[in-house]
Subunit: 452 residues, 2 copies
């Protein structure tokens, strides 16, 4: 991830290179004519990886379920195992980590997962826990931010204050995919605790976006560049909040009419196509204003309710959940195994990484336990909420990537070993959450030993 090209044109260069790859496509046939590769095809290149990923997912999931853990833990660990075969000198799968096709399918997988989880709740149910979610999210952003800043100041005393602040920022945003999946595995996604966590994770994403923008703006300003003004920040917050409330409000208002209209079509598969289009549309808008696309997918799921598509189910078609389910059981495991694949165990062993990594991880885990103070009302398991907020995933890595590219005083804000420490933090929080949540939920209820 070195800075090989001038930063300003990176986008234009990437575009041109992508075009080059496409134009090259047909020419690569040359290498194999006359002969055996006449049918070059994007699918045949990931067919084998997909076979192995699906097998790893099911075998890993099976083992996890047999020892009483959520299936997702097995998928992650199976991915880690396969992804680190290179340590044993087996390098054929090294390319999978950065394969754009797998990346796309994994990305669709987590989108579909959040859409599916969203379908299980309604906007009304979410608003009921809205204030708790807001408090949980706010506490869960502030505490890890301060703790991460402290860890930076303590362990990296030679670096500038911007490095410390930035390190704090990487700890703010919860990665809701893992928790959503565990709650799904354990059939708990309709509990009050689940709704508080999911709502908080959405708000969290907005707050994380604000923190990242403010911190990067500060650094750019300190470095002599144009800084963000308070107006810029307010506009950004307004856009994000506007999207969340606007989409929920307009969505609830219009979605029933949309599905009514769609139900007049006689073509096959209209309900699924309408539902998926709605999910992709909100994901796209969400991405456009700088939020994670999964926030839009979750909002889309919340908005859609059974009653909206009763015209379809009344005439004997499957409901949306039934239709989404096979798609998610294909794509969701791809996401988790690929996450595992990308876990490079060598990160743990890099010199200078270990201490910082452990301290950051502790800051990340303990910081989110402040969330439990934000839960209002009785009967909600506060510990579960705190544990459910632990995972840091893509968002933390995205922040760290931004830090790699920012610099202050000629040095990058995040250097190689700090980046590795962030990666280790992401790994541990991801892997620790499934068993921790499972344990916490089992304290309260006697869960069936089977999972899903």
């Amino acid at each position: 991830m070195q800075d090989r090209f001038p930063a300003m044109n990176a986008r234009a260069i990437a575009k041109r290179i992508a075009l080059g790859v496409i134009l090259l496509g047909p020419q690569t046939l040359l290498a194999s004519v006359p002969g055996s590769q006449a049918h070059e095809d994007p699918v045949s290149q990931i067919a084998l990886p997909l076979v192995i990923i699906l097998l790893v997912a099911k075998l890993g999931g099976e083992l996890a379920v047999r020892v009483g853990q959520p299936a997702v833990l097995g998928e992650l660990l199976g991915g880690v195992l396969v992804g680190n075969l290179s340590l044993l000198g087996f390098h054929s799968i090294d390319g999978w980590r950065t394969n754009p096709s797998l990346d796309l399918l994994a990305g669709l997988g987590v989108l579909i997962l959040l859409f599916e989880v969203g379908l299980e709740s309604t906007v009304g149910q979410m608003l009921k826990v809205g204030f708790s979610s807001l408090l949980v999210a706010t506490l869960g952003v502030i505490t890890p931010f301060l703790l991460g800043w402290g860890v930076g100041a303590w362990l990296l005393p030679g670096h500038s204050i911007y490095v410390h602040v930035f390190l704090g920022a990487t700890l703010t945003a919860t990665s809701v995919g893992i928790t959503a999946r565990v709650l799904n595995d354990l059939r708990q996604s309709q509990s009050a605790a689940a709704r508080i966590i999911l709502g908080a994770a959405v708000i969290d994403d907005v707050l994380g976006l604000v923190v990242l923008a403010v911190v990067s703006g500060m650094i750019a300003a300190a470095n002599g560049g144009r800084s963000m003004t308070s107006v810029d920040i307010l506009i950004m917050i307004a856009k994000a909040v506007g999207f969340l409330f606007g989409s929920l409000f307009l969505g609830v208002l219009w979605s029933r009419r949309l599905f009514n209209l769609a139900s007049r079509l006689r073509a096959h598969g209209v309900l699924l196509a309408t539902g998926l289009s709605f999910c992709f549309l909100l994901s796209w808008i969400s991405g456009q204003i700088g939020l994670a696309p999964i926030v839009g997918a979750f909002a889309a799921g919340l908005i859609l309710e059974n009653v909206h598509y009763r015209d379809f189910t009344d005439r004997g078609e499957h409901g949306l959940e039934d239709l989404i389910h096979p798609i998610s059981s294909f794509l969701v495991p791809v996401f988790f195994v690929v996450m595992g694949l990308r876990t490079d165990l060598r990160s743990f062993l890099q010199p200078g990484v270990f201490g910082l990594a452990i301290a950051l991880t502790l800051a990340a885990i303990l910081g989110k336990q402040a969330c439990s103070l934000g839960v209002l009302g009785k009967g909600v398991d506060r510990l579960t909420v705190g544990l459910g907020m632990i995972p840091r995933g893509e968002v933390g890595l995205i922040f760290a990537n931004v830090g790699l590219a920012l610099s202050f005083g000629g040095k990058p804000i995040i250097d190689g070993s700090t980046f590795s420490a962030v990666v280790v933090m992401v790994m541990i929080t991801t892997m620790a959450t499934p068993p921790a949540l499972k344990w916490s939920l089992a304290r309260k209820h006697v869960l069936q030993g089977t999972g899903r």
Copy 2:
């Protein structure tokens, strides 16, 4: 599609460039920090195209069904419409034609379609019509090959004989996707005619591969390069035939045991994962030996039968068809709309293209009517078989691409305007097949007006 890079290293270059794109990925974040694109994500880039593609598919399909045509025709024409908005000065969607993410999803779509169609038949049922399929395929390769050669000799008298022969070769292989989809739309995919067509299309693919190899080998030899020996060709044929019979034989022998084993797993979604893995595995092998991946997917579908996964359905899980169906209704329309998108109407207007294009198209359509002579036994609608073999798709374009890269006497075998003529032939045969098949089937049966 000019030859911009030395041919020998094309593969290596493409690999390196792809890596460059991946490494650039995080850096592109720079362009947007501080600010609004912090969550760069492969999914958010195709979320909007997917929304529009799904809407176009459903609206186009609806219109087609309302005028009594198969839905696929509407999806194709909808794609053509959107893809040619650039003629009206609207260029935002030009990039979709070559978008690798859409390409991947479309490729998965046609794979799933052939798997699904394969699931509806068994190996035994296919073997019953095997001899008919073999005859149909052989006639359907020889006649268009000779007619195409003739068209070349007649309209391109100034070009070498290799150009004429190569033009014949581009007409040989049927693109089974369209026909499979039309038969599916009209609920005819279990008829004898359907089985003969599908079987012939598989054999066709093997024969087309042989023709391409022989013709390219001849040209390479004439050009002073190493030629293919008869032994090379025999080895290639043996590999292809060995795959087809080997996979069917071993598949039938082992698949039941495989699913028995899988049914012992308690994790969720095992049946779907096992079925898809089987499909992807055979597609991969098929691609490795130079056949189209869809041949493997179809073989996988043929091999799997309900009885293999009775352990799953007996305990109340959905059958494999039910699980595949939502995945196919998401991805299959993507394939057909993207095919439409790639249809550049300006090809029709290029100087020197029109006459050759029409002659080639007639050769392609009339040539395949010889197939009807290959149908043995009574009660099978011969005209339907002939019409069902008409579409030429990816395979014809792949051949033409190979021709772009081959040269004889310093000139490319296929030049720009000849390539455009092949593209026009592919378009017309693709668009003409759905209404033609629908009409032919309606002659025999009174079909319900609704389609699927």
